[in-house]
Subunit: 108 residues, 2 copies
DNA sequence: GTCTATATATTCTATCAAGACGAACAAATC
DNA sequence: GATTTGTTCGTCTTGATAGAATATATAGAC
């Protein structure tokens, strides 16, 4: 059996894919909000990121200080192959469950 | 915000749609296993069904005894409009999160 | 007919994993 | 040291999970 992903974990992984090199707590939260209208607290986002890293689905590196305007250094996240596999599998599960239904239902 | 669905709750609701009039604990579990290859315990299935009913997304009625081959009476479940709405919304969220990615990713 | 074996299905109990939030903390620049 | 930006902590609620226990129907023995 492949790795089990929670509902929000899926969203975070997909956000990481979209954000590519610019994925850190703040942008992840923003990307999800922008696309889905769903706003969550930072606590939720970071907890999920930590859990995903724990599971070996993503990695993190600490970014350099930007000479812009104050603030703590960013912790950038990147999705790993195992992470892509996990999302892919969990989307596939949904696809097989929606197969045969009316078009508006199929393929989330 | 629309009702929040857990990952397995989605699968159960979709199974109910497929099974239509023949949805009860055993068939729900079987349908999910058949389609996704994922087998869960009955405890999990019934707990989820109970939770979904609690939330007002599905209803249940007790079936008649079948003159077949022993066994307890079945408890049939049916998805309610609110349930359809909830799955629909949660699938939509995934669609918006996969939009723009390679075809193999899009639309779970 | 009643009794017990068997098949079928659901509920209970306990525990761990995920999701959620707000406050606290940390570290950069000005 | 004040401000800005970003992350971590503590705590609680909800969702997922398995396995044992329980319930209830029929079949067949007698």
């Amino acid at each position: 059996m492949s790795i089990r992903l929670g509902e929000f974990e899926q969203l975070v992984l997909l956000a990481l894919i979209h954000l590519a090199d610019d994925a850190y707590g703040v942008t992840v939260r923003r990307e999800i909000a922008r696309r889905t209208g769903r706003t969550t607290s930072f606590g939720t986002v970071y907890a999920t990121l930590a859990r995903l890293e724990e599971k070996g689905l993503i990695t993190s590196r600490l970014g350099d200080a930007t000479p812009q305007r104050g603030g703590r250094r960013k912790k950038f996240f990147r999705i790993l192959p195992a992470g892509r596999l996990a999302v892919s599998a969990s989307l596939k599960v949904l696809r097989t469950m929606t197969r045969g239904l009316a078009p508006s239902w199929e393929s989330p």
